[in-house]
Symmetry: D3
Subunit: 240 residues, 6 copies
């Protein structure tokens, strides 16, 4: 039996590290690392909400994801220079935003907006799942900032949220794929799970071969286990 | 027990209709209807492949999705006027392309390109799943056009592909949601399935409430059944 | 003497067909066909007018024209992907808008806006003239929709409007050119005429050879006759 | 009987002035003035043609029109800042290019490209007709530049070209409208005529009221007379 | 010792010419010439200020710089067509605006906006310095226009402003470089100086070789002398 | 006498820190810190040069600068989302590129391209000077990478380069301004100096008051001293 390139067990996460407060000016921030993948997450609070939401009494949480040009092995052109944001960037930004909104009580948030910027400084697979997992930590700090200033209408965090990638590599379902595995995976799946263990988002793609129900079940098991472990690590990082 | 707005059973498709050859100039085309949702699909063949693929001996299949401004209940601005393609449009275009490539043998296609345009003329939920399901039919006709001209290097269609939406509405898992159900669904999932019954893509989102494994299983059952029925309808439309 | 490719007389229209209500959600809509040219026209009503017109008591009618990528014999790139609307598209959109405004009493329309979308599904010459001719029909239905809701300040339709192409092909002036004639015409002219037989717009271009006054006169005669016939067909379609 | 604001007869041109060689570096250039309207025209020659025309043995003539932001009575935003070229700009650029190509023998031009830039420095009506009329003069100088260097394959100028606006103001057909007349005209028409007196382009628009055939005929007479006079002035300027 | 290409002394300006009122509709305008470099400057006054400045009691002065496509020896593409303004254009626009604001008392200007458009009609080096020097003259006329209408809250012109280029060519510091010198200069510097002889902006670049303090001092001396002479010429042009 | 907000002497740098190899995949990288200002610099090497430079035997060095949206005290919109790069970004990118090219022998570099990305993670004044100073360090590592692979045609580093800001705050010339000083400075100047003490670029702006020659001299003295100190720190970081 061949082992994984970094020697991990099939159901084992890479080393995960949260450095809270990496930015001194943001209301919440964290440098999150899943192995060599490093994402700088900043949570920015502004009073008020977008125009279409004004007067609703509800807050708003949104996210933007981007990659530095040399986050990857070879340099990519900047989307600002190209003058348009690519499909992949849009897709991940929307995913992060939806994932966070799934565990936020926007009424309790009051008419405040939190924008979560996830900028990938170094990419080695799993940038979207690291972003979501780190975004929750930064969001907690931003909510704490609002709480300290009595700007909340209640407790907006209904649950926590974490995300992990799973996939089938050489016919074997594995957890938390680095780029070397991700690029050859037959099936690639990203799963977003709440702290209470429910599914928030499932995105599975047959990169090479359609997959059957048994494989899907095994991937979901792996993901559930990985997210449970991430939930613990988030709690530890938050000192909760 | 409350019934669905259009009286269908929970596991029942809307009326599905394929009108092949709707365009007289395209190598393949179909007007596909899922109830009131109408998508005009055109498959355009060009000899040769994009530059990054030249000399590989492999063909290419890609897709673009768009909506007419008045496909929906209220008019939307054109993306051409706005000067940029929105995230949702990008996301669906990419999904359709991936779904088709999952069942295509690009070596057998030879160095030919097939571009599948899915233009939503009228939208009532399920536009992406109707697009994928119709795109397969148009792709078959385009492949037939290539076959008739001896431009293929083999048989490129390894399988068929269909897609359907499922969701949880008022706590009940249902199949093929029109807009009136989609807009209030607690969970929304799009499933792409091969003709042989394997999964090609799963995209599930908790719109309001995270969902448990049992709900997920029920939704996957519904989707598998719906796609099997669509596969039959595709075969009938293709006279196969 | 050689005949036209489709056997028509020089002053004969192609088969013209209006399918009203092709869209179920638009305030007015029509699928208009001039031979193989098919344009889907949607008239969208919104209460209120653009900012620069507010408080004037006057309504507004405007139009946008576009072509699906595979409306033509070979696929064109989408203007949304290119990120800019081409000169031809702009020009035709403006022409349609002007033509409709020439027969509308904007005071009687009240402060309402009607946007007419003309999307060419299949193109075989004469897409702009089919668009204008169909746009009038869709506009009538949109005005009817406003009338039924007592949202008008009077009767906004002062006249009807139709348009037709004429040209010189192989030295012979002919009416309503399909693409095969249009692409080789020495002179190409589009004429917009009111129901009462007056000119609203004349756009004539010497594609290959400057033309003399006698040729111009013959082309105007043909156009006047063609538009008179279109006016009858519009009336019949509207059941007027 | 009321006279025109500047005291001209109905069939009288404004003062027209051509200053050739206004730019010292362009292959052809002219500052053309129709009354207060001033357009700087530059003709730039490059050897070779656009890619789609290579190897055809044919040359290419194209044009771009633009207005300085303060050419008009109140300042307009720059199209470069807005990031997109407006419909009117596109339309006029295309008109100028077509008008010049109608009198050019592209085979005799050889595989050379002439780009004609028409930049309106001050606008007082008739900017497109002044542009076309001046463009012919600059084009002649650019052709002379090519001739001096033996870069032509023959004599590319088959004829000359001039353009003038006509319109109906207060019910009276008049020639060469300044802004004060243009802005209140019931009918507005631009006519491009060859030196030999044939029509190259006719663009007539009912700005307020559809017009009948008799009015059209009178406008065409005025335009023909005006262009004949411009042709003489062009010849004089060119010392021909 | 080799002389300069146009025979000038090292500390001598090219012929400088101001033609005030070149545009009949602008509140201030000047055609400024530094040798063959010709810039058309228009000052446009509007009552009111940008939104972010409303209610401050302060006016606003800003500038936009651009070059006609054939201002230079070979034609450049239009930035409006390219859809984006280049870095150099932005940089110079910002420089002109800053230079003018340095000598304007915005409180005395009242809540009025002056936009200064500098369009280079012909370029032969020094376009940004000619622009600044001409912009001051046009600004004076625009301020006069406001004064005549009693729209000022005081005297907004605290000083005058002029600008000149200096550089090291073939090892020799020289003043006011035409293109033939500018393109081979080892050091290139633009200096903006107030009428009272103080520095407003210094931008010096080692194009080929880093330069020492002594060279810098000599360049600053040259620039100070040149600007003093320009200040006199501005006064003369303004009849002050 | 009032002291500076952080207690530094007028001619004292903030704490400067270089962390080389911050990115594991780039050919050169450094996290450079000037006090709270943190810039991640990545040097990316590609074989070959841009098309316009091919066959010249010369290499190319260029740079792009950008700021993360929450680098600053309040969040800014992303330039990728706005679809255009702002003037300030362009200006600084060009400045960094020029500064590096001033000390590079492009012939010795061979036909290789080095792109230097400077992404500001946290901004507290001096981001452009920190970028240039760090860029030199990353460039050295990239050159080392090329040297190790025998891809150089000689020794491309002719000198080193560093940059610092100086300014007049409360009438007093000071070195290395943090945001709190920069935002109130009367004069703001950025100076780029070679390791051998010569000037590469000087950009000085009177933000509030034009300044005299004596002030300029004092600022240049401060900048020269600061850059000499940065040169020592660069050497230490490079272990040279």
């Amino acid at each position: 039996m061949t082992s994984r390139p970094d020697g991990r067990a099939d159901d084992e996460l890479r080393e995960v590290c949260f450095t809270r407060g990496w930015l001194e000016q943001a209301e919440g921030s964290v440098l999150v690392e899943f192995g060599r993948t490093r994402v700088l997450v900043a949570a920015s609070v502004t009073e008020g909400v977008p125009r279409w939401r004004k007067g609703s009494g509800l807050g708003w949480v949104t996210s933007e994801y981007a990659m530095l040009p040399r986050a990857t092995d070879t340099r990519s052109d900047r989307e600002s220079i190209k003058g348009r944001v690519g499909g992949r960037t849009h897709e991940i930004s929307r995913l992060i935003g939806r994932s966070l909104r799934a565990i936020i009580d926007t009424a309790a948030l009051g008419e405040n907006t939190v924008v979560i910027d996830c900028d990938v400084l170094q990419a080695d697979g799993g940038t979207r799942t690291a972003s979501i997992t780190g975004a929750y930590v930064a969001l907690c700090d931003a909510v704490g900032w609002l709480r300290d200033r009595n700007l909340l209408a209640g407790e907006p965090l209904r649950d926590s949220v974490a995300a992990i990638s799973v996939g089938v590599v050489n016919g074997r379902p594995v957890l938390d794929l680095p780029y070397s595995e991700d690029s050859v995976a037959e099936v690639d799946m990203n799963v977003v799970v709440s702290g209470s263990g429910k599914f928030i988002e499932i995105q599975g793609t047959a990169e090479q071969e359609p997959f059957d129900r048994a494989t899907l079940d095994r991937l979901l098991d792996l993901a559930a286990g990985g997210c449970a472990r991430l939930t613990e690590l988030q709690r530890a990082a938050l000192g909760a």
